[in-house]
Every structure is written in structure tokens, then in C-alpha cells.
Amino acid sequence: MIGQTLDHYKILAQLGEGGMGVVYRARDEVLNRDVALKLLLHSAVDKVSPDHLLREAQTASSLSHPNICTIHQVGQTGEDFYVVMELIEGRSLSDLITTTGLSMETVARYGTQIADALAHAHDRGIVHRDLKGSNVMVTPEGRVKVLDFGLATRLEREEISELTLSYTALESKLVGTLPYMAPEILRGQKGDHLSDVWSLGVLLYEAVAGKLPFRGNTGFEVTSAILREPCPPLPSTVPYGLAAVIQRCLMKERAERYQRASEVRAALETVQGAVLQTRHPSEESRGPRTLVLRGMEHLTAKNGDVLLLVGTNKGAFLLRSSRDRSKWDVAGPYFHGQGVNAMAYDGRCGKHRLWISTNNVMWGAFLRSSDDFGRIWTNPLEAGIRFPTESGAALRNIWQITLGRNDEPDKLYCGVEPAALFESKDDGESWSLVRGLYEHPHRPRWMPGNGGLILHTILPDPSNKHRMYVAVSAGGVYRTDDGGATWQARNNGVRVVFLPEKYPEFGQCVHKIALHDSRPERLFLQNHWGLYRSDNRGDSWQDIARGVPSDFGFGMIVHPHDADCVYIVPVESDEFRCTPEGHLRVYRTRNAGGSWEPLTRGLPQKGAYETVLRDALSADSLDLAGIYFGTRSGKVYGSRDEGKSWKKIVEGLPQILCVKAAVVRMDGTPTATPSLKPKNAKKHKGGRPTRVRRRKSR
């Protein structure tokens, strides 16, 4: 062919040979430029009707995107089809991938561009069907160009059988394609945009690991691995965020994959922007990760979904619903048998990280995280939260995980037993004891409550970086105004029933304090007997227990959009810690404690002797806020109309210690923080969570 002319293209040199044909460098003698000309093999063309192929190529030629190789012309000369394309100087991704893989940053950068190219094509109804390293070129400037959109032929069922049976001996042009094929294609189904998402996952896996995820010596072995084997773990050097993206692309169930290439792009941008930057050099030495597989199907969460993180005394459960909150998937137990007092969702700066404290009665309490909604959890070699040796204290449990302010996305706090506050400034990589509080002169006189001597509540003041409140049972409320260096007891007006002095400076058994971001000077307090409000940052407290059946209780939350609205679940007394008279009632004030109303619709009002513990009451941040609580008897109730009506979401769980609601943010925006509801906010139609779909065990 060299030296020949095809229409007005003079063939100059052969560039390569692929599954579809031979690629030449050619000179466009009309426009006077070099192009790539792919002459399609007769055998490739024979499999489909020439008209069809021509039509597809013409459709693909309509794509105009910086990461897609532009098709200039599709033509036929005699029996030969040819495609004239932009000539790309560079190397194919398959040439660039070494056995050790590419750097994480490079993979995320290339992956983002490939996903963007796929998203562009998919939006126009064009599917690639043969995405692989040799079809992705990288220019010397680092720009990715995806080749051959729409040009791959569809494989017939017999061809797949042939391919799988004769992989080793076969000099087939398809050999390079097989490891990238989605399970559904191997089952003979037509490839679509979700098959492209799978292939992208394979490509990303190969790029980070330096090897394909599904391998074998024969086509049969490769096919079998794709269809049946779980995706092998990525090297420990791969940041969790990136690993999570790849694993989600490689979900064998199509419904569990990203449903759009644009979602992959967004997730990879997030990885590029946040997770890679927060990666710590010591990550490799952080120990094995726990891959949770046993008999469990995991949640697949997408942007805007609502999550309930439920910690129990025998493990954690994850619940997920779409925004309408009518059906809930339940996954778990995670860390079964271990006490889970604290959980948190961190959606700041594009993260989507779950935090959990696991307390194994034998092996101790550890803080762990997952960036893929529970499939893989960290399992640190060393306890990150540990008391300094000279303190003589030993960690018993982690009771609270609190995120720092939105403008401090790397800050985290933990409240622990024995009562102390720990702080991390590097996204949980390392922790330090807040000594100003630990060395407070009051500390030796704090007394353990029923749950031990615990620091259970941490409230950073959103308006003041140096101010924070903590609550200790039984020590009371403490405030710092200087970033934790010094702390002042703030319990003036809060009554103590178990000491001779009824209004001491400290020693109160505070069960919970809460504030709203828009009114940071105002605090609410649920005491061991007593409901209080402070309008002056805790300097003094006034009783607001008017109209409640009991002022004893544990949990307390402020409505996410209404600073005057507070929820509690009163229990009868310290002796009988159950809902009064067997009525399960949530109480709400909408005037900052001026009066309280019972919320009972949908809640059992007979023989319901329930207890809601201090962290088992939570709200999501949707416009019409969802309110949720869990009971010691293992039931989770939810209201999707701000408490007007309730529905049991799940029952039969172990004793519930904490419930944390969160809205998943996977679009790179910060987690929504509670804010005042706009006056013209749309009213939701109301209704209640109705049905649970418990994920079946395998």
C-alpha cells in the first residue's frame, strides 16, 4: 500500500495494525496535511453489513471533543472501506503502562479525560464497545485521545465461544479485547454504555496496578474470571478513593456500576482534587484493609442518596435510600460482634468517607474509614487514638467522631472514654490528645456516669475557629475560646440531682448538647434530668422543660434548617429509662423551647417501652428534613416530613447506639451544612418511609 493513493490520500507509512484493520500515515493532498488512514479489513467488514458499518462510522465522525480522535472522513473505494482520522503524535496507553503501573495522579488525570470522552459520546448515543489501552493515545502534552469510537464490531455469541476456547492458540485480533469485556458481553448481550464503564474500570485497574484485573492462561480462564471472580484487591499504595472508583466501575451487576460515564468523571475529579492530596506518605505502612465480603451485599450509593449509619453494640449497619426516602436498602452487619458507638460521614471537599469506631471487647477500640461505602475498611496497624504513655490512661472506647468546620476539611475530632478529646489536623492520619482539656484541674473530680467517664459531644463553633464546646458525662459542658489551649466549665444554671450541691460549677451529667450553625451563640442541652437553653454561649442556662412528660432523656438534635426547632425523645426517669407510659413519642419545639409538642403519628402508643440513646437521633439535610432515631430494641424509625409522620424503617437489629443521617455528595461540592430553610422552599408532599428492601445474602 505504501506509495499508493486512495482517493486524494497518499499512503506514506504503516503506523500499526489493529483488530479492525491497518493504520497508515497518509497525506491529504487536497488539504495538504498528514492524517491517519485506517483501511478496514475485509474480514472485519464482512461480519456486518457494509452499510451499517458506514453508518456507524459516519455517526462517530459527528463527535467533536478534545479527548476523542476526530474522524475526518469515511469512505469506500472499490471493496475497501477506510476511515480518515486526525493524526495523533504520541504513545498508546498500553505502551505507557509499566508493570508497576502509572502514578495515581496520572491515572486519575487520564481517567478523567477518558471518562469525559465516553460521557460526550454516550450523550449522543454512541458507544465505544472496544475501549482498551491500545485505543487510547496520549500526546506528548499529556492529552488523552480515544480512538475508534463506534468502529468496533459486535461480537456474535459463537465468536465469543470461539474466543474463550482458543485464546492461547488464537492469533486473533480479538485477544487483546477479551480482558476488557464486560460480563454481559461475554454472556452474549449487546454492549452498551455500561459495558464501556466496565472497560474503563479494567483500563484504570491496569493503569494503577500494572496488570489486568482478570487474567488467565486461556480464554476460558479469562472469561471465567470476568464472570465469577471478585475484582482482586488493588495494591495498598492505591488511595482508597481511586480504588473505590475503579471497583465500582467493575461491579458485575450492571445496576451497581456507575450509571453514567459522567459520574465516573466526577468521581475521578474528586479523587484528583481531594483524596490524592490528602494521601499521607506513611499510608503504605498502615496495615491491611478489611475487605468485607462475608455473606453480604453492600450498598451502592450515588449522589443525592440519603444514608443512615447505624451503630449497634454488635456491629454497624448501613441504610441507603434515594431522596424520596421511601425504600431503604440495609447492608450489614459490618464488624459484627463489635460495639460501634460512633459513626460519621465526611462529604467535605469531594470526599465520601465513612468513619467508624469499632470496639472489640478482646482487641480494643480502633477508628477506621471506608471510601467505598463499606466494602473496604482501613484496619490500622497501630491505634491512631492513644493516650500518651505518661498519662497512665488507656483508651477504652471512642464515643464520638465529629468533623471539623467546612473550611477545615482535614480536621476531625474524637471524644473518648476515659473522657478526653482527640484532634486530627490531617484527615485522620494522625491524632493528638487535646491536653488543655485533659490536664484541666477539674478532671480528677469528674465522675463516671452509667456509660463510663466519657466525652460524648463535640460542637465546633461554626462562626469562630477558636471556640468549641464539649460535653462530658459526668463533668458538664466545657468551652474553649482559644482553640483548645484552655477550657472553662459552662454549667451555670444546670441542676445536678446526685450531689449535695444542686448547682455546682461542674460535675453535671450532661447527656447531649446541640446548636444550629446559624445561631452559634445559642445552645440546647438535654441533661440527666433537665432541658435547658443558653443564649450566651453556655455562660448561663435556663430551664425549657415546659410541656414534656419527662425532662429526662438522651438524644437531642436541632432541625437542620430551623434554628428554633429541636427534637428530643423523653424517657421516664433515670431508674426506668424507657418512654413514659409505653408511648413512643418524639417531642419537638418550634420556638426554641417555649413549648413542646408530641410527634406520634406512625409510632406505637401502646406497650412501647423504648429507649433512644444519646447519639441515636439524627436528621438529614434535605429541604424537607428527614428525622430518624434508633432504639435499644433494634428498631429504626424515620420521618420524611420533619416528624409529622413516622414509619419503622427496620427492626430486629442489635441494641442501637448511634444513628447518623447524611446526604451523599459525590459531585465535588461540600457536604450541605444545616442552614436556614429558604422561605419559599418547596413543600414536600409528605408521607413516610414505607418499605425496606433488605439486601439478600449471597
Binding site: 496495615g287 453494640n313 478482646m362 482487641w363 480494643g364 480502633f366 497501630e382 504513655t389 488507656a394 483508651l395
Partner: protein
């Protein structure tokens, strides 16, 4: 001298899945020194066997041969060459 540790299932993810690991150390070592040698090779075991104050966790028992070290000398128990040391979770529940 060489001693061996029997590692319980939940901790084997920190010992590359080995149920028995061997440690080389100088003759005359006590249990604490032996454990410290073990932790050099398998650092994930340390915080799961001992608290940060250096005590054996409340619900973890360590046996030298068939004897619980609580009835020998605790962490100061002398370890003979060839000893078989077992790390065993205590009976507990709730």
C-alpha cells in the same frame, strides 16, 4: 533461642495469615521482651494485645505452654527456649 507464637484467627491478618509465627531472641528473655520482638515483625499485634499503658488487654490471655501467665509472672514470666506461647481471647460475651 527460638520461640513460637500461636496467633488467633482475628489477628492473622497482621501475621500474613500465619497461625504460628516464630521469633528469634536472646536466651533469658521474659515475656514482655519476647512480645516486643514479635511486634517488631508484626506491628499490628501490639495495640491489640497490650494497651498503651503496656498491660495485657483485659480480655486477652497469654499462655506459655499450657499455663496462663497471669499465674506465672505476668509479662515478666521467663520464657524458655522453644516455648510455645499462645495468644488467646478470653471467654467473654454480652
Amino acid at each position: 533461642m527460638q520461640v513460637s507464637f500461636k496467633v488467633p484467627g482475628p489477628l492473622r491478618e497482621f501475621t500474613e495469615n500465619q497461625s504460628i509465627v516464630r521469633v528469634e531472641l536472646q536466651a533469658g528473655a521474659n515475656l514482655l521482651q519476647t512480645l516486643q520482638e514479635l511486634f517488631v515483625t508484626y506491628p499490628g499485634l501490639r495495640d491489640r494485645v497490650l494497651t498503651e499503658t503496656g498491660e495485657t488487654r483485659q480480655h486477652v490471655n497469654i499462655f506459655v505452654g499450657n499455663e496462663n501467665v497471669r499465674y506465672l509472672g505476668g509479662l515478666a514470666t521467663p520464657i524458655p527456649a522453644g516455648a510455645e506461647i499462645s495468644i488467646v481471647p478470653a471467654i467473654t460475651g454480652g
